[in-house]
Amino acid sequence: MAMPVVKAERCPVRSGDNVVRIRQIVRQWTVELGFSLVDQTKIVTAASEIARNTLDHGGGGEALVESLSEGGRRGLRLVFTDKGPGIENIDQALKDGFTTGGGLGLGLGGARRLSSEFSIESRTGEGTCVTLTRWK
C-alpha cells in the first residue's frame, strides 16, 4: 500500500553544509510532527550518519525527506541515494566497528538502532540507497 506522503523535499548531499541543512530540515519537520525531543534527536542523528556516509563513501548523492501520515500514525521517512561504489557486504557494513574509511564504524548500525524501520539496497559499482523511517 502506498504511504500517504503529506509533504516531501529533495536535498542534495554534496557538501558538509548540505549535511547540516538536512539535519535542520529533519529537526524542523519532526517538531511539526510533534515528535518528543528525544525522538527528534534520534532521527536527526540517524539522518546525520547516513548523510555523511552518502557524502564520504558514496561520493555524494541526494536525500528525499518525507512527512508521512497513515491512519492515526505519523512519521518521517528519509531516502538517501548515491551512485557510488556500493557496499559489497551489507551485513558486515552494519556491524559496529566495521569501517573502510578510518571512522568508528558506528554510523550504519547506529542509524538502524535509532530508526523504527531501516533498509539498505546496494549494488557494487552502481550505488547505494538507504531508507529510514521513524514513527511518532
Binding site: G16, D17, V19, V20, R23, Q24, R27, L37, V38, Q40, T41, K42, V44, T45, S48, E49, R52, D96, G103, L104, L106, G107, G109, G110, R113, L114
Partner: protein, 128 residues
C-alpha cells in the same frame, strides 16, 4: 575564516561549541587547541557542548581525538553540559566516548580538573 573561539579560564582553556560543526571547522579547532595548550602550558581543557542538539559519530570522534591529543600534551579534557536527549541518543548510537570525561556544567568540570591536578601534583611534591 570561521573559527571556534578558545578562551582562557584561569588555569584552564574553555571551548564553547555553539554552531553546527562541519568538517573543516572541527579540524581547525583541533589545530588551534593543540597550539593553545602548548602556548599556555595548561593542564586542563573544558569543552562545553550544552548548545549542541546533535552529537553524531563525527563529532564524537572529534571529541575523542581532542581528548587523546590533549593527553599527549599532558592536559586532561572534560566535556561539559551534554543535553539529556543527546546522551540518550549517544548510548543507542553505540558511542561510548572512551577516554572522555564528562561533567554536568562548567563549574563541575573545573572541580573535576582541579581534583585530578591536585592528585598528580600532590604525588609529584611528595617525590620532590
Amino acid at each position: 575564516m570561521e573559527r571556534i573561539p578558545i578562551l582562557k579560564m584561569g588555569e584552564f582553556l574553555l571551548v564553547t561549541i555553539q554552531v553546527d560543526m562541519h568538517d573543516r571547522l572541527a579540524l581547525t579547532l583541533q589545530d588551534d587547541l593543540t597550539e593553545m595548550i602548548v602556548k599556555n602550558r595548561t593542564h586542563g581543557v573544558l569543552i562545553d557542548i550544552s548548545a549542541l542538539e546533535v552529537v553524531d559519530s563525527f563529532i564524537g570522534r572529534m571529541l575523542g581525538n581532542i581528548a587523546s591529543m590533549s593527553r599527549v600534551l599532558d592536559a586532561a579534557t572534560v566535556v561539559v553540559g551534554m543535553q539529556p536527549a543527546v546522551a540518550i541518543t549517544l548510548v543507542e548510537l553505540g558511542l561510548s566516548l572512551p577516554g572522555v570525561r564528562t561533567a554536568l556544567n562548567v563549574e563541575k568540570g573545573m572541580e573535576l580538573l582541579r581534583g585530578s591536578l591536585t592528585a598528580t601534583n600532590g604525588h609529584a611534591r611528595r617525590q620532590g
